[in-house]
Amino acid sequence: MSQAAVLSLDAIAFERDDNLLFSGVSVALEAGDILQVEGPNGAGKTTLLRIIATALNPTVGRLIWRGEDALRHRQTYLQNMLFLGHLPGLKQSLSPVENLQWWRRVHPDNTSLESLDVLARMGLRGYEDVPCYTLSAGQQRRAALARLLVTEAPLWVLDEPFTAIDKQGVAELEGLLVQHAERGGIVILSTHQDVGIPHIRRLQLTDMARVA
């Protein structure tokens, strides 16, 4: 069933100072797709994800969201997209709750769930009001991932979401991603671990991108 592609990457290439990271990346993603971006270190996984999140402009190529160029309709596209980068994106001297609160107003379309409940569900019970610099890397990653529970954005762009997460947490997170896909969402993630998600689509980034 070839639904209209919700998000499609059209021949995206990125060149930084005369060396070409990747080119000709074309993918059409429909509702319910989970795409894993794979490739050796330095193949440009993070760069591609940052391009999809519009934090970086591609040298050539277009990002089409529901038939329109995402960069031209940046406002609507960003409302529908959530991006978790390499860095946790948390202010270290603020607590997870405070961090979630300011983030929810910067990305206003999110559910009415209570921040405290969301953090508890992410396994941070008891750590909600502690400054982030006292938390472990895994806990900080969980505090950042709490945004997945509050957001209503259909498109999730996650850069190495599993780093520093324990085995039990990875299983929970995979369940969350599958649940989101079943509700009609799209997930694009990059990771080195093999992901235990059935019929996941893969994008191999070497020098020439090949969609498997």
Binding site: E15, R16, D17, D18, L20, V60
Partner: protein, 250 residues
């Protein structure tokens, strides 16, 4: 060989087009400058008060004009590069910065040397010279920013933003310096008003200003062409140019 895809205003077209009429332009520039300098140094009358040291004006004023005009050329090239993502415009901006800084330096040096016989000291906080000094800092800021970014594209965008901000601020800076220097000497000529100088003095100055404009154009094109070669050194047309079949001319 990677075949790069280039946006509008392909540097290659500019390289070939400028190659054709660059010799003519440089000929005109050299001619104008020679006539102007000879005329200003040898044939123009000396100033009643300042005597012969007045002849420095024939370098100082044109250099100041071009230093300021050069900043606007740089800022506008930056804007075109920023808005339409034109590689050629970025290269023009990158080349215009050092040229503008050099011309500002000339204006400052000639102003200082001129100050010695007329005001007795090399550095006088005269309104125009102070504004020229600030313009020099503006240029240094753009050049320093250009070379502190590792990525070439980011460097161009950043210096384009800075030069635009600078351009918007130049009138404010000039007016505030004038206001600060309450008892300043009015600028000798304003193109709109009648020149307060004797025509025999004014004509060589006009020739020098024209000569400097041509000189600026020649030097800007020269630097931009070199920048194009540098940025396109791995493309086919540059390889062919250098390779056995290449013509080795200008």
């Amino acid at each position: 060989m990677w075949q790069w895809f280039h946006r509008l205003g392909s540097p290659r077209w500019f390289y070939q087009a400028s190659g054709k009429w660059l010799p003519w332009l440089s000929g005109v520039a050299v001619l104008l400058l020679m006539i102007g300098i000879a005329w200003g140094l040898g044939f123009a009358p000396q100033d009643a008060k300042q005597g012969n040291s007045f002849r420095i004006i024939y370098i100082h004023v044109p250099a100041s004009f071009l230093a300021l005009a050069g900043y606007y050329v740089m800022a506008l090239a930056g804007a075109v590069g920023l808005i339409w993502k034109m590689k050629l415009a970025d290269m023009v901006m990158k080349s215009a910065a050092p040229i503008g800084a050099a011309l500002t330096f000339i204006a400052l040096v000639t102003g200082a040397v001129w100050g010695k016989p007329t005001w007795g000291t090399y550095w006088v906080w005269d309104a125009r010279i102070t504004s020229m000094l600030v313009l020099f800092f503006l240029y240094l800021g753009v050049i320093a920013l250009q070379y502190s970014y590792s990525g070439q594209d980011a460097a161009n965008k950043a210096s384009a933003v800075l030069s635009l901000v600078g351009m918007v601020n130049i009138p404010i800076i000039y007016k505030s310096v004038d206001w600060w220097y309450t008892l300043h000497q009015p600028a000798t000529i304003k193109l709109t008003e009648a020149p307060s100088m004797h025509p025999d003095m004014f004509h060589p100055l006009l020739v020098m200003i024209l000569g400097f404009y041509c000189f600026y154009a020649v030097v800007l094109i020269l630097n931009t062409r070199t920048e194009i070669l540098y940025r396109e050194r791995r493309t086919r047309w540059v390889q062919d140019m250098v390779g056995p079949a290449g013509e080795s001319g200008q």
